[in-house]
Amino acid sequence: MAESAVSASHGGALTESLTFPQCLLAHARMRPEAPAMREKYLGIWQTTTWSALSTMVLQMAAGLAARGLKRGDHIALIGDNRPRLYASMIAAQCLGAIPVPMYQDAVAAEMVYVFRDASIRIAVVENQEQTDKVLEIREQCPQLTDIIYDDDRGLRNYQQSGIESIDALLEAGALYEQAHPGKVRQAIDEGGFHDDCAMFYTSGTTGNPKGVVHTHASLILPSRTVSQQEGLGPQDEVLAYLPMAWIGQNIFSYAQWLINGFTINMPESQETVMIDMREVGPTYYFAPPRVLEALLTTVTIRMEDASPGKRSLFKHYMALAKRIGGRILDGDPTVSFSERLQYQLGDWLIYGPLRNALGMSRIKLAYTAGEAIGPDLFSFYRSLGINLKQLYGSTETAVWVCVQPDGHVRADTVGKPVPGVEVRIRDNGEIVVRSPGLLREYYKNPQATAEVRDAEGWYHTGDAGYFDQEGHLRIIDRAKDVGQLANGAMFAPKYIENKLKFFPFIKEAVAFGQGKSEVCCFVNIDFEACGNWAERRNLPYAGYNDLAAKAEVYDLIQDCVNQTNADLALDPKLADSQISRFLILHKELDPDDDELTRTRKVRRGFIAQKYEVLLEAMFSGKDSQYVETQVKFEDGRTGAVSATLRIANAKRQQGLAKAA
């Protein structure tokens, strides 16, 4: 059992088939005083060792047992990354119960669905805000018996029943352990590698969310392969800052954490993430492309504020890095000695301090995924010597489908299949996957499960793509979104949108053209980047709507669109889908208004419906259009925002006539 794990471990990383609680116990036995997690609280980093964590988890599990949690029950986890929330996840698994982590910015309606679908028995929440939300929906969730909170601020006087703090739970746990000694341990031993261990609701772009059921095996097996391939181990430091509900967080900061025994570090608050990252200096890091983009924007803005001397130095060395930095990282032998020398000088002067300012000085390995990443953005980080790589996967595949191997890293691919994972392309271009990391099923939804996994065990990803000459996978778009223009040419809206979003001034874009003779798109400007640009030109503006309506900004975006068109024109398959017309929206697309999913993916159908009047205007050649839109404020109230939007024409590449 767990004993053999000690000898079977690999320098601290576990190789046996253990459940997550069993992994925890193994680490606590092997390296009790090593740091398991750290949290910055009251300005200092507070460490929890493996043995302390183990003790807390066992006591929590006992407490949950005292509250009647049984094998197979579901328990919701809602909050930011906090040590005790992580502990409660493992504690639930000790008893064979199944944690369901949820997004902390979910609104009541979304939560009710999940609570009812999963028959949530107990909700472990971070603070008063989450407690209030759960209380609001409690009536509609008859299965819910207990709400347990971590931070008691503001909760001391709550009179309602069924609410208690984790401290109270721990006390109950101590009593339970006295009354039923060894019962928790027994439950842990009875846990099987192929038992269900967690459930994640996918934020579907259409229809109701579905609960993706994973087992210990599905989360661990491919994660372990990758850990070994990438050389991860107990000495690594990881920053746990992404939402607990997201599958990536559960792989990087949970599964791989418990496999390898490294340390996860939790920032003080969302605002302090960058400051805390600098202090931690993580060695293994994940960031979605928008975070990387935001970082780059901050750097560029700060650079523009610097003295001319510093700026020219920066420009010179960044150009150098762009030429050879990525190649050096790839291990390219054709880089000359003098170039390497220059790069080293640049490293002392610019790249080192820059990595430091980003908190990336110690990064051995960094991943990004989730949406396409602009080539400039990607090469920026690599040229600084940061080993940023792309990966491809989803909630249903427990992330690991393809990973870029070291030395073969390019911006436009997602790499090669992970060992143990099979990837094929169907005739219609859809990518299908077979892997030990696949979901066991969609919870209580055999129909959906059957739709997505065929008889031979292939999972249909719903993405369209192809393998290039080097065997790397390239993603085009969601398979069902790849459409056709009126003349039959391929129309891949996401591809176009991504190209537009590569520009720092464009935060979001939505392309329309299915069945039409031309492509038109909505654009959301990036307030920070455009604002800065405007200030530099002494262009005053009074806020987002005002800035978005300015003629100069339209010209700026026009430029971006034209450049995108030029790019599209280069590929014969895509040349016809150059953008003909565009407009800049007066308000940012927002998940609270259901225009984006919680992971900020565009909900094209809904947007088309909501802004129908704008679409009609664009395709019928009008120059401007008045629109009134509903918005939802954070406290649930609704309001309306209206504006008259200008519609501009883009420049398409000459020689390619508009499709009839």
Binding site: L42, G43, S269
Partner: protein, 261 residues
Amino acid sequence: MSRRSIGEVMLDVKNISLSFGGVKALTDISFNVREHEIRAIIGPNGAGKSSMLNCINGVYTPQQGSITFRGKTFDHMNSREVAEMGIARTFQNLALFKGMNVIDNIMSGRNLKMKTNIFQQALRIGAAEREEQAHREVVERIIDFLEIQAWRKTPVARLPYGLQKRVDLGRALAMEPQVLLLDEPMAGMNIEEKQDMCRFVLDVNDQFGTTIVLIEHDMGVVMDISDRVVVLDYGKKIGDGTPDEVRSNEEVISAYLGTSH
């Protein structure tokens, strides 16, 4: 509303009159404040609200009248003595120490609680060092409470207005006062910032039992969080009671509450 049970009269303002040259800022104002309650002072601009607070705080000395705090009566005090008695305040126009960062500003509020003398501190001998640590922890808790961790080391002059107001509040809280005088704590804030500030004010009252006297213009806020209200107009008191009583008071309505804000 205060969740704690409201106690005895803690602060009693009697017949205060204040004038500057020929201008009468306050005329014969009397009201009291009970322990643990949240008392709002409202009125149109120029009604004398800030002047009233300044009298309590010792910045202005009224020509007539007296203030009784915890049974001791004063006809004039200076700000330092008031602070020593356990009354802290925030300022309408912020009076943060611009040369310092957030932590130092809040730490300065611990001044009265520091027991070691200048020499011990200068040489950072054991007792002074331990004291500094202890105070630092209190300040960190306040920073955590006000959710301003990300700006600990930022010079306050660089912060946006809403955050500066929080630091002002933090500095007053650092004094661990019995009475907190808040001079328009929500002025210039948007909806979200106001909600946050309300939350902080209520939490302070609830967690620490601090009695709060606040000047506020936003009627929604006043009706929501205060236990009792004093209404001033042209330096005279025209209303005194619970929010509901005041809201239906004819004089108050005609002077001030014509339309909702």
